[in-house]
C-alpha cells in the first residue's frame, strides 16, 4: 500500500491533512476568522442574547435537497442542515469536517475516515453507507466525478471508513468534497421517505434541523442539540425571501431582520453610515467575464481581435463605475484565492494604443459590428453599456441584446451568431478545476465561447490525471498561457459580496461561496 503524499497537490493540502487528524471533534464549520463583531458596551457574558437570528436573501432556494439545490441561494440554508466531509473557512483554508482524515492509498484509491458518533437529525448514526449513498445520488444527478470515480464499487471498509476507487487518477477531486452540494444525506431515511418525501422534510447532520417553512416566504431552522460539533449558540435561524434589494436594507434599518444578503452597491454607504448597523464584505468565488465567440462570423474569430477587445476594456473603470469599487480587476478566469490559481504572465492590461495596433494587424482597423448578449440584470446591462462605449474607441460597434438567461443558453446551443456574451462563473469547490473543466475544453457544457484548441485539450486532459506537483504546475502554466494568448474569455473582475447586519451580531462567519455560517453567531438584545 503506497501512501502518495506527493500526490497531494500543494503544501497547503499536506498541512490540511495533518490538521484534519488533530481536529477530529472540534466544531467543524466556519472556523475562519471572526467576521462580525458586536459593539461591546458590556462583557459578552452579561448580555442577553436573542433566541432567533433572521436573515434575508433575494431568491427562494430551489430545493433543500443538497445535491439538487446546488445554487448559492440554497447553500445559505442547506449548509446549516448538512455537513460536508471537508470545509473551507472564511479565508479559504480547507479543513476536515465529517472526514476525520483522508488518505490517498494509491493513485487510484482514496480512503476517507469518518468522525465517529455523528447523528442525523432523526437520531440515526452517520456511517460510511450514508457517504456512499450520497456519492451515488450525486452521480445520478449528472455530477462529473462519475467519469473518473468507480461509484458502483465504492466500499465501506467498516462503519466509519469509505474506500473510493478511481478509474483514472484525479488528485484535485478532494476539493469537491467541500462543496455544500456534497452534504451527506441519510440513506436509511431517504429510502424510507423517497425523493419527494425527502424534498418535503429533509434531514441532515448539520447544526440546525428544519422546523417549518413556506416556500417562497421563509424557512426556520431549529438548533440540533445533539450536533457532534457542539450545539449552535442561537436556538432558531430563519431565512426570509425578500426579492426587492432596497427592502432588505430597509428591513435591516427597521430591525425586522438581523442580516441582509446581496446588498446593492448603492446602499453600501447607507449601511456604513448607520451606527446601528455593521457592514460586512468578502471577496467571492465569482468572476464576471465575457465569453468571446471564437467561431463568430465576425472578426471576433481572430485571436488578435479578441486580444484587442481585452486591451480596449478598462476593467478598473467598470469596477469603479458599476460596482462602486466593490470588486477587484481580474485577468484569470478563476479568483486568486483558489487552489492552482496562476497569475497570467502577460495580462492584457488596458492599453488603447495596443488594442488599435492589434486591430490594424488583423486588418480590422475600420472596425465591425457585432452582437453583445447579456441578461437583464441591472449590473450586467450597465457593464455592457460601459464596454459598448469603450469598444467604440477601436471602431467596434457592439449592439447590446438583452435576453432572458434561458434564451441565451438555448441560442448558444443552437449555434446562433453572437460576438460577446456577459456571464459569470463561481468556482464553488475552491479549486481551479471547477471552472477550467466547464468553460474551455472542447464540447463542455459551458463552453459558450465555442473554444476548441487541440493543444489546450491535450494539456488539460494530462493535467487532470497528473499527480506530480511540478508537472502539474508546468501543464497549468501552458493552459493559462494558451488561454491568455487565444483570449476566448475576457475576465472582468472578481466580485465582492456585501452584506449588512445589526451591530449586535457577533460570531457570524462569512463564506466566499455564499455559505455563510451562523453556528457560533448570536444577536445581543441590547
Amino acid at each position: 500500500m503506497k501512501k502518495v503524499t506527493a500526490m497531494l497537490l500543494a503544501a497547503s493540502m499536506v498541512l490540511s491533512l495533518a490538521g484534519c487528524s488533530q481536529k477530529a471533534k472540534e466544531a467543524p464549520a466556519g472556523t475562519g476568522s471572526g467576521n462580525s463583531a458586536a459593539a461591546t458596551e458590556a462583557p459578552a457574558a452579561d448580555r442577553k442574547v436573542k433566541d432567533e437570528i433572521v436573515f434575508a436573501q433575494s431568491s427562494d432556494l430551489t430545493t433543500m435537497n443538497p445535491y439538487i439545490g446546488t445554487q448559492e441561494r440554497a447553500y445559505s440554508l442547506t449548509n446549516h442542515m448538512y455537513d460536508t466531509l471537508l470545509v473551507y473557512d472564511s479565508e479559504m483554508n480547507m479543513s476536515c469536517s465529517l472526514a476525520e482524515s483522508y488518505e490517498w492509498v494509491d493513485d487510484l484509491t482514496l480512503q476517507i475516515n469518518l468522525v465517529h458518533d455523528v447523528k442525523f437529525h432523526n437520531g440515526d448514526p452517520l456511517t460510511a453507507e450514508d457517504v456512499i449513498f450520497t456519492f451515488e445520488k450525486r452521480a445520478e444527478r449528472g455530477s462529473a466525478f462519475k467519469n473518473y470515480i468507480d461509484v458502483p464499487n465504492m466500499q465501506a471498509k467498516d462503519d466509519f471508513t469509505v474506500i473510493v476507487p478511481f478509474t483514472s487518477p484525479h488528485p484535485s477531486f478532494i476539493y469537491q468534497l467541500t462543496d455544500p452540494a456534497f452534504g451527506i444525506v441519510p440513506k436509511k431515511y431517504f429510502e424510507s421517505v423517497g425523493e419527494e418525501g425527502f424534498a418535503k422534510a429533509p434531514i441532515g447532520s448539520g447544526p440546525y434541523k428544519l422546523k417549518d417553512y413556506v416556500t417562497g416566504d421563509y424557512y426556520t431552522l431549529e438548533r440540533f442539540d445533539d450536533y457532534w460539533g457542539g450545539p449552535a449558540k442561537t436556538k432558531y435561524l430563519t431565512m426570509k425571501i425578500v426579492p426587492e434589494a432596497g427592502q432588505r436594507t430597509i428591513m435591516l434599518e427597521t430591525g425586522e431582520i438581523d442580516v441582509a444578503y446581496e446588498i446593492p452597491y448603492v446602499d453600501a454607504t447607507k449601511i456604513q453610515d448607520n451606527d446601528d448597523l455593521q457592514f460586512l464584505s468578502t471577496p467571492s468565488m465569482k468572476i464576471v467575464m465575457f465569453y468571446l465567440n471564437t467561431q463568430s462570423a465576425t472578426p471576433v474569430n481572430d485571436s488578435r481581435v479578441r486580444q484587442a477587445i481585452e486591451y480596449a476594456i478598462d476593467k478598473e473603470a467598470i469596477v469603479q463605475a458599476v460596482c462602486y469599487g466593490y470588486g477587484s480587476v481580474a485577468y484569470a478566469i478563476v479568483p486568486d484565492s483558489v487552489s492552482e490559481y496562476k497569475e497570467v504572465k502577460e495580462p492584457h492590461v488596458y492599453d488603447l494604443e495596443k488594442a488599435k495596433a492589434l486591430m490594424k494587424e488583423a486588418g480590422c482597423e475600420d472596425g465591425f459590428t457585432m452582437e453583445l448578449w447579456t441578461s437583464s440584470v441591472q449590473t450586467n446591462t450597465e457593464i455592457c453599456q460601459v464596454v459598448q462605449e469603450q469598444l467604440a474607441a477601436i471602431n467596434i460597434k457592439a449592439e447590446i441584446s438583452v435576453q432572458d438567461a434561458n434564451t441565451i443558453d438555448t441560442r448558444i446551443d443552437a449555434g446562433d451568431e453572437f460576438g460577446m456574451e456577459l456571464h459569470f462563473y463561481s468556482c464553488n469547490s475552491g479549486h481551479a478545476e471547477y471552472t477550467l473543466s466547464n468553460i474551455l475544453p472542447t464540447g463542455m457544457m459551458r463552453n459558450d465561447c465555442r473554444f476548441s484548441n487541440a493543444e489546450y485539450d491535450k494539456t488539460y486532459e494530462e493535467w487532470l490525471v497528473t499527480t506530480d506537483e511540478a508537472k502539474r504546475e508546468e501543464l497549468l502554466t501552458t493552459m493559462y498561457e494558451i488561454q491568455n494568448q487565444e483570449t476566448p474569455v475576457v475576465p472582468l473582475y472578481n466580485e465582492v459580496k456585501i452584506l449588512g447586519a445589526t451591530k449586535n451580531l457577533d460570531g457570524f462567519k462569512l463564506s466566499r461561496i455564499g455559505a455563510h455560517q451562523y453556528q457560533d453567531a448570536v444577536v445581543y438584545e441590547d
Binding site: 434575508a56 431568491s59 427562494d60 430551489t62 430545493t63 435537497n65 439538487i68 439545490g69 446546488t70 444527478r141 449528472g142 455530477s143 462529473a144 467519469n147 425523493e195 419527494e196 424534498a199 418535503k200 413556506v214 416556500t215 417562497g216 416566504d217 421563509y218 426570509k240 425571501i241 425578500v242 426579492p243 426587492e244 432596497g246 427592502q247 430597509i250 428591513m251 434599518e253 427597521t254 425586522e256 432572458d404 438567461a405 434561458n406 434564451t407 443558453d409 438555448t410 441560442r411 466547464n438 457544457m445 459551458r446
Partner: protein
C-alpha cells in the same frame, strides 16, 4: 337561476382547456431545457438525454398535453421540476396568500372608492370634487413599485408603524403586515372605482325619477342610496369584479416589493426555471378562481338590479 349557475360552471371546462393549451404551447416554445436546468453545468449530453426520457419530455407535444389533462382531471397537477414537491400543495398555499392580499385590496378600494365617488358626484365641481379627482388621477397614474416603496419609507422606516415587508400568520400580525401591501395594490383600483362611481352617479343624478323622488319629499340620503346608487351600481360592480380577477394574477410587483409569498411571484419564478407543471397548475387555479369571481359578479347583478333577476326567471319559464 340554478340552471344558469350550472351552465356557468360547465363553461369552466372549455375555459380551462383553452387556458392550459395556450400556456402549454407557450411553455413549449419558450427557450430552455428543464433537464439541462435541473442537472446544471457538469451534466453530459447523455445525462440530459436520460433525464429528459425519465421526465417524459421526449414524448410528442400532444401526448404530453393529453397526459397533463388526464392527470388534472384526476386532481393530480404534478410534481415541480425544480424542487420535487407536489405542485398543488405549493399553489394552494400561495393562492391563499394572494387571495388574502387581493381581497384586502378590493375591500380597501371599495370602502374608500365608492363613498368618495358618491360624494364627489353629489358635490360636483366643489373643492372636494376637484381634490378627489386630482388624488385619484395621481393614484391611477402612480407605478405600484414607486408607491409601495414610498409607503414603506414613510410608514415603516420613518414612522415605524408597519413592517416594511413579509407576512406573519395570525391576528393581529397578519393584519399589520397586510396594510401597506393591500393599500399599494388597491391604489389603482381605488382610483378607478372612485372615478367610475362618480361618472356613473352623475349619469343618474339628473334623471327624472330623482327629481320625482325629491318632489315626493324623500330624504336626500335615501335618494342617494336607494335611487341614485342602486341604479349606478352595475358598472361599479363590473369594475370590482374585473379588478379582483386582475389582482389575483397581476399582483406580482406588489408581492415582490413586500415579500408577500403569493402566486404571482411563484409563477414568475416557475417560468424562469421552465417549471411547466407549476406554471400550468397556477393557470388552472387562477382560471378557476377568476371564473368563480365572474360568476359571483354576474349573480350579484341579479340582486342589484331586479330587471336582470327577472330576465333569469323569464328564461327559466
Amino acid at each position: 337561476m340554478l340552471r344558469y349557475i350550472l351552465k356557468r360552471f360547465l363553461f369552466v371546462i372549455p375555459v380551462l382547456l383553452g387556458a392550459t393549451l395556450l400556456v402549454f404551447t407557450i411553455m413549449e416554445f419558450t427557450p430552455g431545457d428543464p433537464a439541462k436546468i435541473i442537472l446544471g453545468n457538469e451534466a453530459t449530453e447523455a445525462d440530459i438525454a436520460n433525464l429528459r426520457e425519465e421526465m417524459g419530455l421526449d414524448d410528442p407535444f400532444v401526448v404530453r398535453y393529453v397526459r397533463f389533462v388526464g392527470n388534472m382531471l384526476r386532481g393530480d397537477l404534478g410534481i415541480s421540476y425544480r424542487n420535487n414537491l407536489d405542485v398543488s400543495d405549493q399553489i394552494i398555499q400561495r393562492l391563499k396568500n394572494t387571495m388574502i392580499l387581493a381581497g384586502a385590496a378590493v375591500f380597501i378600494a371599495v370602502l374608500i372608492g365608492i363613498p368618495v365617488g358618491i360624494i364627489s358626484a353629489i358635490k360636483q365641481y366643489t373643492i372636494f370634487d376637484n381634490v378627489v379627482m386630482m388624488v385619484t388621477l395621481f393614484l391611477a397614474a402612480s407605478p405600484v413599485f414607486w408607491l409601495g416603496l414610498m409607503l414603506v419609507i414613510i410608514f415603516a422606516l420613518k414612522l415605524g408603524i408597519f413592517p416594511a415587508a413579509g407576512m406573519k400568520p395570525g391576528f393581529p400580525d397578519m393584519f399589520i403586515c397586510l396594510v401597506l401591501p393591500a393599500f399599494t395594490l388597491s391604489s389603482n383600483t381605488m382610483a378607478t372605482i372612485a372615478r367610475t362611481t362618480r361618472a356613473s352617479m352623475l349619469e343618474v343624478v339628473r334623471q327624472d325619477y330623482i327629481d320625482t323622488a325629491r318632489a315626493k319629499g324623500l330624504k336626500e340620503s335615501t335618494i342617494t342610496v336607494r335611487h341614485m346608487l342602486k341604479n349606478a351600481l352595475i358598472p361599479i360592480v363590473t369594475m370590482i369584479g374585473l379588478s379582483f380577477g386582475g389582482l389575483l394574477g397581476g399582483s406580482v410587483v406588489t408581492e415582490s416589493i413586500f415579500a408577500w409569498p403569493g402566486v404571482g411571484r411563484f409563477v414568475v419564478e416557475s417560468i424562469n426555471f421552465k417549471d411547466t407543471p407549476s406554471v400550468l397548475a397556477s393557470v388552472v387555479m387562477l382560471s378557476i378562481f377568476s371564473t368563480f369571481v365572474n360568476l359571483f359578479v354576474d349573480l350579484l347583478y341579479a340582486f342589484v338590479d331586479p330587471r336582470i333577476k327577472s330576465q333569469y326567471q323569464t328564461k327559466r319559464r
